[in-house]
Point group: C2
Chain length 240, copies 2
């Protein structure tokens, strides 16, 4: 077990403009900020990952803490709460932890997977030039040979269904200022992470102009931790 005072290092995913672009990295960034922890940032392009840490991991985020290396965002945030118990807790206990995994079990397949099919070509185009061929090849294999262009050709027609699928967030935000209730919790960081990812490269605004509940929540979320989520390089999330 490394000393809690050992330095933290977070391996992130970087686009051509240097902006961090993984929804899961954003979750960890918010988690670190919530706990008042700082980490050294190691930006990697898609093709750097196999050449980092002896190729042990296929994805970011990767968190190094002394001799401990973790590479799955749920493992990382659980580790942070266990290793730094004297900083603000991310999870009040195992029941909240499990209930947020249940939220994520909806959010990942129903929301984030739809986001991928809207934005996979935008991610490609925003990636570092050296990463683009690898990104295209690996994603086209994942989508059974369909090109990124074909995958996204009808995306405007699919936008209404994606907006409708976000209804559970709006129902919650009609009751509470944050998804986690009266104060932001990891539920908010999960969703903010996905919107940050979209905002890092989107050329098609995800949200309708009049989506006031999500707009007000996003403003509150971007303000957190001294404006951690605000960046002049972000693309608009709302139709103008």
């Amino acid at each position: 077990m490394p000393s809690p005072s050992a330095p933290l290092r977070l391996y992130e995913l970087a686009l051509a403009n240097g902006r961090s672009a993984s929804p899961y990295v954003w979750r960890v960034r918010y988690a670190l900020a919530h706990k008042g922890l700082s980490a050294e940032t190691m930006p990697l392009g898609f093709t750097d990952i196999p050449n980092t840490l002896a190729g042990r991991f296929k994805t970011v985020p990767i968190l190094e803490h002394g001799a401990n290396v973790l590479a799955e965002s749920w493992d990382i945030v659980d580790y942070l709460d266990r290793t730094f118990p004297d900083t603000p807790r991310l999870f009040s206990g195992p029941a909240e932890f499990a209930s947020l995994r249940l939220f994520d079990a909806w959010f990942q397949p129903e929301i984030m997977r739809r986001m991928v099919t809207l934005y996979v070509l935008d991610i490609h185009n925003a990636a570092r030039a050296v990463d683009q061929a690898y990104f295209r090849q690996s994603r086209e294999v994942r989508f059974k040979g369909t090109t990124l262009e074909a995958l996204t050709a009808d995306r405007e027609a699919r936008l209404p269904a994606v907006r409708e699928a976000l209804l559970p967030l709006r129902l919650q935000l009609a009751r509470f200022p944050f998804l986690g209730g009266h104060v932001p919790t990891y539920a908010d960081y999960i969703a903010l992470g996905a919107f940050q990812w979209v905002a890092s490269m989107s050329t098609l605004p995800l949200l309708a102009k009049n989506d006031e509940l999500l707009r007000a929540w996003l403003e509150r979320g971007l303000d957190l931790f001294g404006g951690l989520g605000r960046d002049p390089r972000t693309k608009p999330l709302f139709e103008s």
Copy 2:
């Protein structure tokens, strides 16, 4: 504030066979059992509700506790935790409470609403004879004049999409024995309540034969609290 020792009375919804048929009543039944509280049960048919408690409430569950009367399941369970703090807590704190409302903000519109469109005619047919005309008329108004028969005519074709929509439950149950984690929480009672409701009147098994994760969880759930959820009158939830 009534004394915690004042008797509790729960108004339920009863079908012709006496079985309780509201998913929200089932949530409260499980919540009471979780806290080790017992309540007098007052079964009502659909048409009894306007003639009960001076017609103050349009739906059940209704919980009476001395002079306090509550009629929304989230209000009821929050009240139970606040009023009986010395019994096992339903919610570890406000963060878990809010995170389970977030789960419900997905579960109600995406799962329970689909269940209604599969089973609304079965509910009608299982209702007490004296309730059937009212039930049909009120639901057909809600569905803009479509008959219950027309609403459910293509239900077998819609079954695969409903089964697929349950994916988030399976993802969670691949990780934990209960939706709430290692022990059952109100997340489980929300979902068990909906399955109990379906099992009270379904003539079309909701779940595929090989849905082992949901099957094993339902078995564990029905065993809770001395088999509270087990009833020989229930209809099969699984295709045989």
